[in-house]
Symmetry: C2
């Protein structure tokens, strides 16, 4: 087995709506190949140009389209995994339903490489939607934008994407590349609906109506795909815009129950004021997964200390609001101290027991998570 | 903690589209309560009148609506579990994304009670669809019906249900209670589309067109909800119809990749002929999960032996076709010998390691699975 060459799409099964891939396949390549067959793999992490399927599975990657489609684990039917003892095991299979003993596949998904090496995966695919439509709702109050998210969903409209950009991020994007985003808005929400044309048309109408009713000061429906692409390119540029603007950026991945988004945004604003730090917010509002980012400088000790205190308080507030410290990036190295603080010690012990069972000599991605 | 009284719906959170329930809540009661709020919990095992949420989670229950909505595990955000050592642990949470250490929640879902006792669950809900439509497609060849399933899906139409009934089942239902099913059909497929009215209308048109193109001899769209209810009542009566007609019924739960449904049906017909046994087929064709049932009599040794041989060959054929031995019923007591035969011994060892780790004295539902 030569892992460096394991980048083949082994099979696309149109009848079963599945694909078999090696772990080195880059998501962008898979997406283009599937497009030719009228299919797609819904998870869409922003790193899709370089992210490999092995990494996407090991991190249970998300992205904007999770509002409607869910995360990576919902699209993994089977995995071949190389264990620390050299055994190669096959988990799951190629079927949509499978209740045959313990559902081990999910321990390896999001294990961040610490339990085994994924050497092949069986993916569940969807038929490409026939139509898409993008809507931008503009807000003069960031918390009102947060409320619009669950107002749309509670009305039974499920867009595939609901993304959030605050005023600071909007302005940095516009400086970097003018995109037509409203620079004086406190926040914007970008919605995308997909599906059959008649449904997309109707959902778009409903989103316009609901966002206006719940406080959007302006709502624009992209007139064509070119305008829609411009908005989504701006959204993708969001992180680059943030990272270019400070020597150090502490980018978080906190996730709260959707109804708590306005409260999380208010908390972040209060924390920024309390510690005199700049916190900018963007993220996947549709599933409560925001990326509040603190702009700071690791070489300015006094400022960096204030940033770390603010970071601590963002995590604490998230947990108080019923949320979790990572929605899609995982624990890795950076979040280990928070992990131990917020997770029940009995649960940590159980996780450690599994690590010990599967990889007793700790040779799988040592240092990560633990 | 008194488990016998643990049958309360603790919270319905409309903003977050979640509910918190105790394990004794009966699915039917939950469904009626959620309906008042315009919400629903998508998994719909046919035992919904008596099935409790604890059991539904511990078996990762399915049902007809999994084609579009997936199975139980996709609707469980958090679990409180009582472990064998008395520890009470909380797994997951109330958020849609959560990548914080190993995803232990899925080991308990479908563990059939052998790892711990589920004492509370946080459910993900969907808004109730605004419209539904039922279509019955009639076939003179059972394998052609099987093909229609993936022809509809590969065209990008995703109904919430695609159910299959063969000629024998149709006739037993009609004897039991005349429902207007076509008694001379070799098989029928029942489709249900749900969503916003415009989309449902369009999808219904497409299903009619595709099923006609791929060999249905007759396609009927239910003219109103009363006619639709009649068809679905007939489908639900299917199992009762089967069980009433033989002293012993060996009902299987095999699941194949969708494209293999016609082959599985052909195999079952050949096996029936080879062993001179009666095999009737009904099930959730939309996700490849069929319930071929052998009519026999445990007290007639010669006949029962032939039935057991046929059963063995159904399981073997399923595995050869890339399928699994249980889609939604689990291993329990009956499928233990097949479980050991078809699952990789390394995987079995890993499962046993987890059982040993969590329940070393084997006090949790002893005898099941293992």
């Amino acid at each position: 087995m030569c892992f460096t060459k394991m980048n083949k799409i082994l099979k696309i099964d149109k009848e079963n709506l599945t694909a078999t891939v090696e772990p080195g396949v880059v998501l962008q390549d898979l997406t283009l190949r599937l497009m030719k067959e009228g299919l797609f793999f819904p998870p869409d992490p922003q790193s899709f140009l370089g992210a490999t399927m092995g990494g996407i599975i090991a991190e249970n990657a998300g992205g904007p389209a999770c509002v409607k489609y869910g995360v990576t684990k919902q699209y993994i039917l089977g995995l071949e995994v190389v264990l620390a003892n050299g055994d190669i095991i096959n988990l799951g299979g190629r079927t949509l339903k499978n209740v045959v003993g313990y559902d081990l596949i999910h321990i390896f998904i999001s294990s961040e490489g610490t339990l085994g090496i994924i050497s092949r995966a069986e993916l569940k695919l969807n038929p490409l939607p026939k139509a898409k439509k993008t809507i931008m709702a503009v807000y003069s109050d960031v918390a009102v934008a947060g409320e619009s998210v669950f107002r749309v969903l509670e009305n039974g409209v499920i867009p595939d994407k609901i993304e959030f950009l605050d005023n600071w991020v909007i302005n940095r994007i516009e400086e970097m590349m003018p995109m037509g985003l409203p620079k004086d808005a406190d926040a914007v929400l970008l919605f995308e609906c997909d599906g059959i044309p008649e449904a997309v048309e109707k959902e778009t109408e409903q989103i316009v109506e609901i966002t206006k009713k719940y406080g959007a000061v302006d709502v624009r429906v992209a007139k064509d795909q070119a305008e829609a692409d411009k908005y989504w390119l701006a959204r993708r540029a969001g992180f680059a815009a943030v990272f270019g603007k400070a020597p150090t950026v502490l980018a978080e991945d906190v996730t709260v129950p959707r109804g708590q988004i306005p409260n999380l945004i208010k908390k972040c604003k209060a924390i920024a004021k309390k510690y005199d730090i700049e916190i900018v917010i963007l993220g996947h509002a549709g599933d409560g997964n925001l990326h509040p980012s603190i702009l700071t400088d690791v070489n300015n000790k006094e400022a960096y200390d204030r940033a770390l205190k603010g970071l601590d308080e963002i995590i604490e507030s998230t947990v108080e609001l019923g949320g979790v410290l990572s929605g899609e990036h995982g624990i890795g190295l950076e979040k280990q101290k928070f992990f131990r603080r917020v997770i029940d010690p009995n649960v940590i012990n159980l996780m450690k027991g599994i690590k010990q069972l599967v990889d007793p000599n700790n040779i799988m991605n040592p240092g990560k998570i633990w």
